[in-house]
Symmetry: C2
Subunit: 310 residues, 2 copies
Amino acid sequence: MSKRLYIQEVATRDGFQIEPNFVATEDKIALVNRLSHTGLAKIEVTSFTSPKAIPNLRDAEEVMRSIDRVAGVEYTVLVPNVKGCERALSCQVDEINLVMSASDTHGLANLRMTPQQSLAQFREIIEVARGSKVFINASLSTTFGCPFEGAVAETRVHELIQRLTDIGVQGITLCDTTGMADPAQVERISREALQRWPQTVFTLHFHNTRGMGLANAIAALNAGVDRFDASLGGLGGCPYAPGASGNICTEDLVHMFQRMGFDTGVDLDALLQAAASLPELLGHDVPGAILKAGKADRRYPKPKWMDAAS
Amino acid sequence: MSKRLYIQEVATRDGFQIEPNFVATEDKIALVNRLSHTGLAKIEVTSFTSPKAIPNLRDAEEVMRSIDRVAGVEYTVLVPNVKGCERALSCQVDEINLVMSASDTHGLANLRMTPQQSLAQFREIIEVARGSKVFINASLSTTFGCPFEGAVAETRVHELIQRLTDIGVQGITLCDTTGMADPAQVERISREALQRWPQTVFTLHFHNTRGMGLANAIAALNAGVDRFDASLGGLGGCPYAPGASGNICTEDLVHMFQRMGFDTGVDLDALLQAAASLPELLGHDVPGAILKAGKADRRYPKPKWMDAAS
């Protein structure tokens, strides 16, 4: 039960990109630096998308160039195209994270590309990245279902994983983009992925939109998965479900795994302190449960009348 | 995967007892009647505690005598003592649910009784109930941890289960009273209970205080558990963690199990309609996720520009 699990933080990218207000560059840098010292395995720092597309992350270069690089932490960024890859490489990232959808409609709606078009573009990006030592990860959105099309055939997911590995992708993140996955599906798809592509580094990326986020993490764990994306405070969200929870919450995930006896490498108290800074930084409450309830080892004083009676 | 799971609703007891305002008797009756037609296996209707102790449930007799009895649904009530048992029996309940704590301090704080004192009282209650055909269930609070003492020894839990079965208890609900349980602990304790006491009907009762509610349900399911308490809308709560979530949410639990392919017997749409009535009935929002996000099979229209472009 002391298996090592790897926790990958996505709040400053997946969370901040949909915040109503721009988070100041210096605050982003300070948060990444703070997170770098909590024992997280990887931090998705920012996204090298067009500043027009995601104005909240228009400071990608400055953030990526200004953060401290802490030994043992991998710094990854989202890269949507060749230009984004060149920008990312100029900042000495450890990893680039390419994004595509498993479903046509979500791909067209979100990226204006079908999976086939995404794969063609990935080839160009990988060609550009080849000379560097950067690790190449691809995130497969809507692996567990598409908000427009519904179920996504598992054969399609398998085919896309094969195509991604064929073109040189080293890591694949299976994403439950809008919180449609259930634990049985997660365990089945995760198990098959780990068995069929043992050379690929798989990460599971869950949202808590329908309350199943940590249940899905348990299902992935049961299948042998050891890498999980999560977002500090549970930041991030689903544009299709206003008011619903977003990404699974890093401190809630770490808390659960630690209670179960797993080694996450994370200093949960330091992580909770970082999470506690979010409401003031962002101007709103965050969904995380442990911030509100405290850790499970929290002790409460006995009712006062019990002391009086004894 | 078509295994039958039994969903037991506790909102009108565990939820309503801590509501800030009294829910009108006719509204309680109407809600129980509505829930009776959703396919739930059991409904914990009310509690025969002293009206002084829980004024919100001071109408226990009237509610219990006025509800429809739908075939296939078991109607249970919480019974704290001999007097409560006599009141419950006079209302022709199907089951009485006795409550004790696994930990001394929680028992004293919550019930003013140690586990030993509770067991002695249970014997008296069971003596009174013996002539009737009522099913005798006992809920073991703080099975997975005590908010005052911390960890509760599993040997103590086992000993208490043995004592309960010795005195004639037929069903035992293992309760994570304040949301301290983690999935590894739940799977271990559930598996051992099912194996060592195969004649006892076990129910698992989780709270979502620390976000692990559905993850714990998955762990219990993996151990072979097929009966779960849950609360419509996620009503209920933890008096020790203001703002934290309460019981696991019935519609979220049913939604997850149905997505996984299990037969819960529940009409999820009917359940969701009942849950949707809660905010107006109670005057506040409820924690349930599916009410906000919709079911995972919900389809969203494509962005309008996609139609224009095609």
